[in-house]
Symmetry: C2
Subunit: 362 residues, 2 copies
Amino acid sequence: MKNISRRDFIQTLAIAGITSAVFAPSLVSCQPRKEKLGIALVGLGYYSTDVLAPAFAHTKKCELVGIVTGSPEKAQKWKKQYNIPEKNIYNYQNFDQIANNPAIDVVYVVLPPSMHREFVVRAAKAGKHVFCEKPMAPTVADCEAMIKACADNKVKLTIGYRCQHDPNTQAYMKLGREKTLGKVQMISCAAGYFDGRTTHWKQNKAMGGGAMGDMGVYALQGARLATGEEPILVTAQHFTNRPDIYKEVDETTLFQLQFPSGAIASCQTSFGMNMNYLQVNYEKGWLKMEPFSSYTGNKGLSSQGIIDFPLLSQQAKQMDEDAEAILNNTPLLVTGEEGLRDIRVVEAIYLAAKTGKQVKIG
Amino acid sequence: MKNISRRDFIQTLAIAGITSAVFAPSLVSCQPRKEKLGIALVGLGYYSTDVLAPAFAHTKKCELVGIVTGSPEKAQKWKKQYNIPEKNIYNYQNFDQIANNPAIDVVYVVLPPSMHREFVVRAAKAGKHVFCEKPMAPTVADCEAMIKACADNKVKLTIGYRCQHDPNTQAYMKLGREKTLGKVQMISCAAGYFDGRTTHWKQNKAMGGGAMGDMGVYALQGARLATGEEPILVTAQHFTNRPDIYKEVDETTLFQLQFPSGAIASCQTSFGMNMNYLQVNYEKGWLKMEPFSSYTGNKGLSSQGIIDFPLLSQQAKQMDEDAEAILNNTPLLVTGEEGLRDIRVVEAIYLAAKTGKQVKIG
């Protein structure tokens, strides 16, 4: 075999029709480009167990190669079920050693919100790219620290807003952006489910619980994505029908948003009832999505026509698109800044509900 | 013919199977019972002209026999079109002479809200029963004065809540009352239309304008009727995208209500956009009505089944049922007290929006 130079090698690839863009990151580092990114899930609760892990059956650009858990029992179970090598299993104490593990490219933080900051920062310091579940963190300060840690360590950070990867969501985002039906006038958006648990982190303030920070972010996303704008004025009200359980955090929150264009949103979120819809009044038409933020089956109707793009797995599409962005060094669909934008509004909503006053943002 | 006593006459009717309740009012006054009530419309704007007058074609218990108008041109036009005798035509000055007109049993007040109190009180003093359009009046004090005047003069007062006569509305009222789907948890209700006018009474504060008092009452009725309860806590927010026109009154108002059972409502009303729906979350089901408060075609779906009772004319049914109640001396479906209940909440909503604070009712 002829001993070829790096330039000759690239030229040969170009002649073969293989674009340099696809190979750029690997070529720059002169390492063979990975076809798939190795993902380690941190926190093996419901969402990791029942939703994310099964989604890897449908991913093309990433694979489940590692886990981080505080439970030795879960570790053994996952090790068997997903054929995870012992060397890729970490606990919360030895997690930082992940820095020395080339099999793991991305750490996916699926912990209660109060733990997001710590594990995103530790993952960034370990030189790993980060997928972080929504809500990004309990406070704006947390989000800013997470963004800074990832920037400082030159790793990518994305927030697990699966809906933004869903073509059904993208369809209503497009209506807002392109103003096909005129300007948005009014949004009505509801996201809630009945949570029968009493001692889960969702009912615990210190762990980042509360309906607004959790389900409320879906309703907020509905309003922000439908307008493509950031709210400037917020009012909000808390309610509970289970004061014994919802002592520390909100069970039900209504919030109202005003946007720079004059669009207004009336949103509802709750751990006390099932609701999942987005309705938009445009100057020249309307949109109804129901459900608008489920794992599957999101669909709707606008005065322009049906919105119904069936999708096998939002989570697989989300992880693959994020993996592609990392592999190709292209912009992520959902950045840490996007997560921060929501938390900025969530903070304002909590302040508005607490004080009973309008809160201005920005 | 045998000269029979009044008691004998009643006994004869009873034997013939004719209940005394049906005949009671006429018998008491010993005058022949009218088959139809003669109605005089006061104020010949859009609603009288395009909606109420045509509805008399479908009434069985009342007929349009008189008009009260400030416009001699309208008087002439209506006189011809509806064959109204000259003696049954009044203007706002000579209106009180209606007291001497036995052809007119009911005065139907269809004026701007600011004029309701004056004309309801004058009609009551003239000894006429009163139909009064919604909103009942701009203030609670007005409503109380109207109720008192009617009581003092022993005439009946009903408010033109046509929807309460609509079987579609009655279907969702029943769901709330009988709790077939469990308790009401959350209501989302919207009532609005785009009003392109700039100098109508709807844009004029002194005449009783503003979205909340007008269309807002529909959204409020949606919440009150769906729960069958009275709100105890109110918050509200005003918005406008046409500040040049909506200087004095609200263009768009969002309001939130809490009910004694714990049910909450998020409502929207506007003169800036078309919206007409009611959505209810029950403990064990849901309801969606759209439209819920149109003149025709109200319909919906609940987790229990379709709600769709086509109705030729809400207004004809409303007027006939109110006429029946007067003829039979039975309770009216919608009393003045019901109109007052709404205005009590409307006042609280305006106060809440103005102060930015929660307002307690009752």
